[in-house]
Symmetry: C2
Subunit: 245 residues, 2 copies
């Protein structure tokens, strides 16, 4: 197994960082590595906001649900799905642009995720740690206002980057047979494989909490799906021009 | 610059592969590397269909718009955004699950993209080449029927994997200043930066085609946005239970 694959397999989220700052040259290299990711039809449908202003960092930490590391990490990025730049370019070239298609929401969201994952891997390859911050979708309108995001741009997720001040264990993943299927979607075995994974996760939580956290994967998911998950997202996206036509 | 970052920066899509097959052990390692990507709330909202059946590979090549490498590459994967496994697990644990939220479409699409990008990088680190196949969204209903995808699972994109039989150049990316903004979304400079990138891309196309392809980035985007891009996606997703509530 080569060192890049070893790096990928050793990923875990870092939420505690030292005070050391990422040098600007390295920071730009991480972004360029991100840009190298594949992009749908070369659209490059993303913009990255590098939030430097400390007051805005504190506000974003609150808006993301009280995640202090958003303020404390060396560099905080907001990865935005962006249909503005490319469609305006096409318009300037003479296109009569149709916006608001559901497909464009997918293209921009997926493009943005591919870029972010490259940034994440580049960062880890340099000994940095990171965590994704989906919590910025808790209050996307407030986040958008703070970052002055125009229409056809939405904040997909954030990312904290910095030098790790913790060494958490790697968190287990579902059994391979659960996520990889041959030729057809077959789920006859899924309940069994999930039960197996529930056992794995129960052990993981017990060991990390000296026996205090007695739960498993399925239990952890319950609150996430019982409530309407971020029910504001539909109206928020529509208001930003992602009309899901 | 370390070798992983060099690898990321050297990415280009491969669409011509040798007959050499990827060994099964390596293939599984790539998938495990994929699984190690970050995942929203540990949901792991994806399923990968490994299409082995040659007839189905040929059909998928057609459905993706006549992309022969879908049939010819060593291994073809369809990355599916999957809200079924996790919500059924939560249901078995006693949750009254709410499905069809717009946020769930985002979570699953982003989770799936992060996994895929890890698979892509793991593959490239082993000397393999790949290309993403967004074209499976040309005919998502037919693709879903062929792969027997149930409700709450949609085919986000495909990926061809194999040993490269071509060495294309790295395709330029937008200027850093165009995609990276400090504190606020500022686009005063965007038209200028895009014009600069249009020149870069024009040179790139001219050089690769002995002067025959005289176009640029903005021109290339025109047909993509003038028509309604994959206008079936909204109804297709709703039919699959991604109701965008």
């Amino acid at each position: 197994m080569n060192s890049t694959i070893e790096l990928l397999l050793s990923h875990r989220s870092i939420r505690k960082f030292t005070d050391q700052k990422i040098p600007r040259e390295l920071f730009e290299t991480l972004i360029r590595a991100g840009q190298s990711a594949a992009t749908s039809n070369h659209v490059q449908a993303y913009t990255i906001i590098h939030v430097v202003n400390p007051e805005n960092r504190r506000k974003l930490a609150e808006l993301a649900g009280g995640q202090g590391y958003v303020a404390d990490c060396s560099d905080f990025l907001v990865f935005c799905a962006d249909m503005k730049r490319s469609t305006e370019a096409a318009e300037r070239a003479g296109a009569e642009v149709v916006l608001g298609m559901t497909e464009q929401l997918l293209v921009a969201s997926i493009d943005t995720a591919l870029v972010a994952q490259n940034v994440a891997i580049a960062a880890e390859s340099e000994g940095l740690g990171l965590c994704y911050i989906g919590g910025i979708r808790n209050n996307p309108a407030e986040v958008s206002a703070l970052l002055r995001l125009p229409d056809h741009v939405y904040p997909a997720f954030g990312m904290c980057l910095g030098y790790p001040d913790q060494q958490p264990e790697v968190k287990p993943r579902l059994p391979l047979a659960s996520v990889l299927k041959e030729d057809y979607y077959q789920d006859e075995q899924d309940a069994t494989l999930v039960a197996e994974f529930d056992d794995t996760m129960r052990q993981y939580y017990l060991e990390r909490t000296a026996g205090n956290k007695d739960t498993n994967w399925s239990q952890q998911l319950k609150p996430l799906f019982t409530s309407k998950l971020r029910p504001h997202m539909k109206d928020f996206l529509k208001g930003k021009g992602f009309k899901m036509k």
